[in-house]
Amino acid sequence: MDKVDPETLRLLHGYTDEEWLTYFNALVTIAKRECKKRYWRTGRGGLLPQGHSPETIAKEAITRLFSGKRTWNQEEYPGPSPIGILRATVESIVGDLVRSEDHKRYAALAGHSDDRESSDATKEADKLVQKAIGKHLVQPALLQDHLYEIKDVIRRIRVTIGDRPDLVAYFDLYMQDLKRSEIAQRLGVSLDRVDELRKQFIERALDVYREFFDAPQPANDKEARLARN
């Protein structure tokens, strides 16, 4: 049994249900991206080993903090919010899952321990993917597919928001990886306006992202379409 820092437990017990639900839903969203990033790049869709899903990964990260398996170092993750340490734990869990599965799949890639929680799990997982690519364990054609798929997503987003030139302008700058303040400067608008554009862009583009993430259609959408037909 790991020893849990009493101060950590006090903090974890102190959050309201609403705060916990916010952290949880944010972690699931972050985990979705992490999983897709890793498995998409190895050409393995969204399948996760050991029956994991972004949701179970988010729960596991929270469990590790409660049980003391993961220590909350306040110097590394200061402040009262646990989201920094939980995010790092999610990344670490996904990295470990990729690594363990790659172990099973690619026996040639030896020398990585699965039972530790390394802080650089992400980098190691990335290295494994690079090695797999180097050894042609990932089909070269996939690389071409990735680029094509991404470009197609970008094209479809542009079509989706095409009736809103302000959103298109925002999206173009967003895709240049510019900071919020840089986007505000380029567009000549306030930071609040950039936040609003970002919110509207996400709302409008969610359908395209859902398909990109191979996610099922939301139940109410299906019902609405059936009703329309």
């Binding site: 009493p6 639900l21 839903n25 949701e55 929270i62 009262p80 859902r210 939301p218």
Partner: protein
Amino acid sequence: MAENNNAKKMFDTLTTWMDSADAMNLTQLRQVRRAMGDDVEKSERGFLADLAKLKAENPIPEVQRIEGLLVIAKRLGLDVAGLANQTGLSVVLITKLDRRLIRPLSVPQRVCRLLAEALNTAVELIVEYLQQSPMLATEASFRAKENPRIQEQQDFFEAVRSDRSVSEERRSALLALEEQQPPR
């Protein structure tokens, strides 16, 4: 390899907003998850049930409370000036901390550590002590005609700035800790 890096970079940029999900509020997050095909209500119900179990299995450990900073100091043969010297604070600041007239979240961790070291106790006990309700001034409680009123808690750094008794050297050292404080 260049194609892979290019695709990776484009993927990262395209999905940056998901990585910043912690900046969204609960309503937005639920909307995103629903749109991504998740049964949010079921998922949240399951999470809250798991959370209740986690809390039950990992309760807050009961901590022994300390009676007061100056009470322990006295036991160790330290007076208020001695404790101030050992911790790099001032008599005024020590008195305010002892009476919990400083907002606990504003007290730098380093100050809690120094107090714990000087008083030969655990940092958690100091933190727990500072988090309790402000104490009435013992003198005020019997001298005043009206009911004694608890003073409002002050920010630690405000207290340092307004403290005329603290040396400039100590003031600078204490104010330097402000930059290391997490945003409140």
